[in-house]
Subunit: 345 residues, 2 copies
């Protein structure tokens, strides 16, 4: 095994506790011994043992990150690597490790989180999703374990630190963009209504539609699992309505790509026949054809802020619950065009 603190101590001619103090950058230590010890550490290639440290001061310097269940294909959404990038950045900077947890089924996920918490493997946890009635959330709440969620918690919003976008407002804004382009029949396509993000974005859509005095129709709202076979049917039904939509608000870029391809199969072009706007601005949305008009939610920043909040919270149990709203911007690209143009073609 590696060099231990004792060996360093002996080599430097001091006590182990002194070496420990040097590691911790203790104030009351003479520059001379400090230098001496540091030299010995370097020469011997000393590195503190995380386990021993953790055991001695009941902390782990690591953060748990919980991805959603991989049962659906949602995990393949580039959202996750991107948010991980943000988390990693601060973790690396502040010398934290990242423990990843996911699972095929919901039950497996809970098990994973329980293990992290019970075994004392992490100091805190970041939830990369938010859905109604989440057993993981309940568990964390019950154990009073430090955690933050990316997205808006489905309950106890004021007691749970979370980092989110204003999805209602962005939903409203992006829908308004379609309205400004002259569209009057605008449908909404989103994923599971168990996800808070879907709910919020649809709510924004609703607000814009109603404020503009346009019809907020049941038939205009489609909820389908990401790109599943059933999705194709749902979308086709939309276009068999007496008044098919000319504009689509879609809750996720990846879904948009799927929908665009479905539409093409039905012989409809985007944006010539139907305009599409969506959310996230993942990298793909820029290089797909047509490039997507989409809400940039600044995924990296979501991860970055969440990690910072969590570390604050971990270091100070009394840190109050915070809500951080990361601003969004709208990327205008080619998937949406004016209704006029649509008609003239």
């Amino acid at each position: 095994m590696g060099v231990t603190i004792k060996e360093v101590a002996k080599a430097a001619g001091v006590a182990p506790s002194t070496v420990s103090r040097v590691i911790a950058d203790h104030p009351r230590i003479s520059p001379a011994t400090k230098k001496k010890v540091k030299k010995a550490m370097k020469e011997m290639g000393y590195h503190p043992n995380a386990n021993a440290r953790g055991l001695a001061n009941r902390s782990t310097q690591s953060l748990g990150v919980v991805m959603p269940s991989s049962a659906n294909k949602a995990l393949q959404n580039p959202f996750f690597p991107e948010v991980l990038r943000g988390i990693s950045a601060v973790a690396h900077q502040l010398d934290y490790s990242i423990l990843l947890s996911t699972g095929e089924k919901d039950e497996e996920m809970l098990e994973g989180v329980e293990r992290m918490v019970y075994a004392n493997r992490v100091d805190g946890i970041i939830l990369l999703y938010s859905q109604v009635n989440d057993p993981v959330l309940h568990f964390l709440l019950e154990k009073d374990f430090p955690f933050v969620v990316i997205g808006k918690p489905s309950e106890r919003v004021d007691e749970i630190t979370h980092v989110d976008n204003d999805n209602i407002r962005s939903g409203k804004n992006i829908t308004n963009h379609l309205i400004d382009l002259g569209h009057e029949n605008i449908a909404f396509i989103g994923g599971s209504t168990d996800l808070i993000v879907t709910i919020d974005r649809m709510r924004g859509y609703q607000l814009a539609i109603e404020e503009a005095g346009l019809p907020y129709l049941e038939e205009y709202r489609v909820h389908t699992e990401f790109l599943k076979s059933g999705g194709s049917q749902a979308v086709s039904e939309l276009f068999n309505l007496p008044k098919p939509p000319t504009g689509l608000v879609i809750a996720d870029d990846l879904m948009s790509i799927g929908v665009i391809n479905m539409l093409e199969e039905f012989g409809m072009l985007v944006p010539e026949d139907v305009s599409i706007v969506s959310f996230n601005n993942v990298y793909l949305s820029e290089v797909t054809r047509p490039p997507l008009t989409t809400v940039d939610i600044h995924i990296y920043e979501l991860g970055y802020q969440a990690a910072k909040c969590l570390i604050d919270k971990v270091k100070n149990k009394l840190e109050p619950a915070k809500r951080i709203i990361v601003p969004f911007t709208i990327e205008l690209r080619q998937s949406a065009q004016s209704r006029e143009k649509t008609l003239n073609e």
Copy 2:
């Protein structure tokens, strides 16, 4: 903090070591005490402390997973979540945790791995990529730390346990598919030649081309960073050649999607004007338009096998180096069609 082994011992009226034995499922322990202890554990909500365990028996029950640097957009490739799924599956099953490491720059990545190793945070490491002259690989080799790579190591192939596909053969097969379809001018588009996977797939392409007596031309080989702006130019040059290709072998599905869109910009359709085949069979390749003819490399299985190998190796330092080749299959879809058809249209 949580319940300790001592408290359980006292409650069950046995010694701590007995409790420890029960936890470890030690053979020589009477069913009676075993039951008694288990009952106490359950009642008190006991969970062993991972740190203390690790410290006492110098092991961590966790695996480090190293993703490539996030400097380029490669991280957004659905390959990674998918391979993580495979790793997670066995990790969960065998009660291992997953420590994730990545970094913006190469240097940061090395730092991350060093920390994992030096601080004794992981028992072994999985490298999710393989490139030439990788400092991380060198470090691991030098420290003689247990690790496996997914892909083919750039050096010391026989000494390093790795899980890979036969990328040369798959490259050859899929190129042959294009040849069988009657294509004679076939180009190759791949990412960085620092990546072994690119090299192998191109090599397969070369073999097929040469075996068929077709021209293996310098101008037919394009290496471009994934979907970068430069990529567009490189691709356009390809089609300004005196004999532009009618078939494209592309080293990665995501790249294919980018290329298809570029081509469309130039007014060329896939597969009508040019046929495309590629690799990985990520979920997107099935729902994109056209669906991609691609090599299914069984990503999940790669992760699954890698994790198993690593755990074997961790448990038994003497485990010999292995090479596991995960078989590939070819998914025939619509992005490639016969040269005849191409001409007739």
